[in-house]
């Protein structure tokens, strides 16, 4: 993509987040969409600050999510607590490596990659990097798209906990790890949401004109 001739921002215009209506924004504060009354911002307000806060929160939660057990299976009086990683190892030991791979990617690798990508994008913005804006934008899109799939683990735990209530025979309980893991997924999704990819391009265009 060649340098854009003009952006909405350079023309003091902004499009509505809700209805996409393009309007002139004389000042950056207190503007409203003339069509739908939605607040108008040229860029997502405080995008970087919010993203940072959420990413840091997610990173904090990521530790207990992996250290604490996600669920406890009690079967015939024998209780077993599993963390996400011990579950993956269990699957590997039992020869179900494709399943182990899926769980590992969805539950360990993806949340971690999301955090790493977001941190990378924000650091690049802070350094006003002009390096490969297109690839960085694509990276962001992938991050945003795959975020929700990490919730699969949480769904499995919730369904099992609700289904397996056989008293002494078998009982499954959710453990604190699941809460933290859910928090990681939700926080990274919100963080990706609050990140404004247009900022990548703003940096690139700052010196183009």
């Amino acid at each position: 993509m060649s340098a854009a001739a003009a952006t909405a921002l350079s023309a003091s215009c902004a499009s509505c987040h809700a209805c996409g209506f393009l309007a002139r924004v004389p000042q950056s504060h207190g503007a409203r969409c003339p069509r739908c009354q939605e607040a108008l911002h040229a860029r997502k307000p405080k995008s970087l600050e919010r993203t940072w806060a959420l990413v840091i929160a997610a990173a904090i939660c990521y530790v207990p999510a992996n250290v604490f057990p996600v669920m406890t299976v009690t079967s015939l009086g024998k209780a077993q607590s599993d963390t996400i990683l011990s579950g993956v190892i269990y699957l590997l030991h039992h020869g179900m490596w494709p399943l182990a791979l899926v769980v590992f990617i969805a539950s360990v690798f993806v949340p971690l990659m999301k955090l790493v990508i977001l941190v990378f994008l924000m650091v690049s913005l802070h350094r006003r990097s002009r390096w490969r804006p297109l690839e960085r934008t694509r990276l962001y899109r992938i991050t945003e798209a795959i975020g929700r799939w990490s919730m699969v683990d949480i769904y499995v735990v919730t369904i099992l906990v609700a289904l397996v209530k056989l008293g002494n025979l078998a009982t499954i309980e959710a453990r604190p790890g699941a809460v933290f893991f859910g928090a990681v997924v939700v926080l990274t999704m919100v963080a990706a949401e609050s990140f404004d990819p247009r900022l990548i391009w703003d940096r690139c265009e700052a010196r183009t004109p």
Binding site: L9, S10, S28, A42, R50, A57, I60, P64, F180, D202
Partner: protein, 524 residues
Amino acid sequence: MSEQETERPAPRGVAEAVIETRTWPSLIWLIPVVAALLGAFVAWRAISERGPAITIHFATAEGLEAGKTKIRYKDVEVGLVEEIELARDLSGVAVHARMVREFEPHLTDQTRFWVVTARVAGGQVSGLGTLFSGAFIGVDPVSEGKASREFRGLDEAPIVTTDEPGRHFVLRSYTAGAFAMGTPVYYRKIRVGEVMSSELDPSGEFVAVGIFVHAPHDARVRTETRFWNASGFDIAMTAEGVSVDTESVASILIGGIAFDTPFGAAGEAAADEAVFPLYESREASERRVYTQKATWLLHFDQSVRGLVPGSPVEFRGIRIGQVRDVRLERDAGGRFRIPVIVEVEPERFGGAFTEGERRAGMERQVEQGLRAQLKRGNLLTGQLVVALDMHKNAPPAQIVWSEPYPEMPTIPTPLEEMTADLAAIVQKIDRMPLDEIGADLRDSMAAMSELTRQINQDVVPRLNDALVSADRTLASTNALVGADSPVNQELRRALVELTETARALGLAADQFEEEPESLIWGRK
């Protein structure tokens, strides 16, 4: 409000807006703060709940699994096995476990650990739950003692845990018998305890059997209590007949110990770890109740078949002692005699006596007729008992205070007396003048034969004449009533007529029966 970090449009001759720079960070930062606080709280709780790490040494790790096997106390999880490793010299395994924090004060050098698996012992089945859930490690916490983190695991679950109310006792026995751990202890056939251990005393002279009696039955163990081996069953064939004694079917199979306190000799409640002798049988335990024993020598002149060491000595049917020895001696005159040594327990007569009192008392009794006698205790088995009784008509006798045993006078058995009577009868028969009687008999016989001869000579010819005349009379009678004599013919005809009359009467009777009216109206 802080400006967007992005570049803004260049102002063109317009006054600059006042830009408010807020020193406070945005509220969004509360999220990571909360996350950090939550994470810190959870981490703190996990660390604070982390109890002490302990090491238990077992002979084998059978049934144990790192990360899975639990340590349980009263079926509550109090720890988890984290790691199992072989001892360096391969003599066993070291099980590293982490206990919950609350258990820390109970980990002392007295605390015991063992692996709980399904087992059958002492007539009881336990730990069946482990068949499904897998083995776990049991713990018997003891709070008193030095804190410890290294333990030696027991090979088997202890029979009794420290918190079980009751008391321990030690029984000293010459043989261990069949006392394995868990062998039941009975009180009046009720199971009240178990054998805890059975080991050789340091001196090596006897076996110390450790038992545990559960509360409240431990109060039944008094200082005077007797313990005996109730293993299997006793079949005793005594003068009292055949008796079978057993505590329970279980004790026949796995052995057992029983105890009881002699009536009237309760004593005080026995202290914990008190030592008692273990008797071989109930009988043995009772025998020892009487410590004072008086030994007597009895001489019998009759057969003592059926009298053995242990045969009872009775006074009017009450057992007061037993036979200790039966011997055979030849006295100075070359006569055989049988000294029987008996033990009598004077305490059975009530109260204890001094030696002097006892001697005087016995002499008085013998003066009044106290005698020993052999009696048949049981007709079926032929056992004999030594019976002491008062015999008013007994010939006077005295106690011979000889050494080593004093001799008590005896009198013969009733059977023996009967034999003596029979002998007297035989003697009388013997004294009869049988020869004279024989001579008299011979004279009588001669007179008899003389008589017979006279009869032959005088009576028989006359008898012949009489017979001839009788024959004649019979012949004439025959002529009178012979087959073709007139009397006979007349008689026959009369009989024929009688028969015909009878037939006619019969016909008439039939007629009347069929037609009764013909009696009036005549035959139709």
